[in-house]
């Protein structure tokens, strides 16, 4: 089970540096061999994805510039294989529904070991 899970790349998108580091620290604790890229805005994320497509992505919603859900939609349109987990403090129903419609997982902040676990499950897909 671990064999097809090694060496994956993860893109973390969040305007909060602390948030990015919390996610990174929690993910690397479980998968120390993964490569992690970071972006502070939706636009930066889209640009990074064009250069190199990650396997997985975590996405915040409220960021300066483009909304995370819109960035996620764009990324998924160009690269439908990317698995996205939306991590946000914005927990309203409309937002959760939109995330689900995109095929992304929605996880409410704060980022905890448990919520990271949910994201990792979504990334691995059904076993």
């Amino acid at each position: 089970m671990a064999s097809n899970d090694s060496g994956k790349t993860l893109l973390i998108v969040d305007d909060s540096k602390v948030s990015r580091m919390v996610i990174k620290a929690n993910v690397l604790a479980v998968h120390p061999d993964w490569q992690v890229m970071e972006a502070g805005t939706g636009e930066e994320a889209i640009a990074l994805v064009e250069q190199s497509v990650p396997d997985y992505c975590t996405m915040d919603i409220n960021m300066p510039g483009m909304l995370g859900t819109d960035a996620a939609a764009q990324i998924l349109q160009a690269h439908p294989s990317v698995r996205i987990a939306i991590f946000s403090a914005n927990i309203q129903e409309a937002v959760q529904t939109r995330a689900q419609q995109l095929g992304a997982l929605f996880v409410a902040k704060p980022v905890t070991e448990k919520s990271i676990g949910q994201a990792l499950l979504h990334f691995r897909g059904p076993l």
Binding site: S16, K17, V18, S19, M21, V22, A25, N26, N62, S88, A89, N90, I91, Q92, E93, A94, A108, K109, P110
Partner: protein, 207 residues
């Protein structure tokens, strides 16, 4: 002088944004429409410095909702809006097209509840993320002139007092309002808060 470094400020901003998300959800259920609430910035100031930053020279008065809380640190939390913005928030929350006169009748109650929702959401986010427990008083609503507020802030905790100032951005029924959330604390409370933030950062390998 900066009491908080950049990472600590980022951590607090993140904590308050989690609170804002929870408050926005509660408010959207009351209003029946999407509500957006965010905390774009957090800073620590000496209480004297608050005037130019937070109390712009408006002729109008300010609507404030305050709660006193204690736990590992004590503070008075005050949510501030200009009075006319408070009235239009109340109108948006109540959803009917009442005149401003009729709204004034409900202003105190509705603002108390709005303030309580936002303040409690921030306190609960602090409790969850910093792993602490806080007690709070019930909300109090007061409309004051800028001078009264200055005086209140100055006398609050004595000389060695600080103010944690959050700029907040609220959108209800497609109307955008900004306001401030201020935490008045003594220097020992501020240090206790900073210690807890550092502990939180330490846990995730950042401090």
């Amino acid at each position: 002088m900066s009491i908080l470094n950049e990472i600590e400020r980022d951590a607090l901003t993140e904590i308050f944004n989690v609170g804002a998300g929870r408050a926005a959800q509660s408010l959207s259920e009351i209003v029946g429409d999407e509500v957006r609430l965010s905390v774009p910035s957090v800073e620590v100031l000496r209480s004297g410095a608050i005037d130019e930053q937070v109390l712009p020279r408006t002729r109008g008065r300010f609507a404030t909702v305050s709660q006193n809380f204690d736990g590992p640190f004590d503070a008075e939390a005050v949510l501030l809006f200009t009075e006319d913005r408070a009235l239009s928030i109340v109108r948006d929350m109540m959803g009917s097209q009442m005149s401003l006169d009729e709204l004034a009748e409900f202003e105190r109650e509705a603002m108390c509840e709005l303030g309580n929702i936002i303040l409690n959401a921030c306190l609960s986010a602090m409790a969850d993320m910093l792993e602490i427990s806080l007690n709070s008083s019930l909300p109090q609503y007061l409309v004051s002139s800028p001078d009264d507020i200055s005086a209140r802030l100055a006398s609050a905790q004595g000389d060695e007092s600080y103010v944690l100032v959050l700029h907040i951005d609220l959108v209800i029924e497609k109307h955008q309002t900004d306001g401030h959330l201020i935490f008045l604390l003594s220097s020992s409370s501020l240090h206790a808060l900073v210690e807890h933030v550092q502990r939180y950062l330490g846990k995730i390998g950042l401090a």
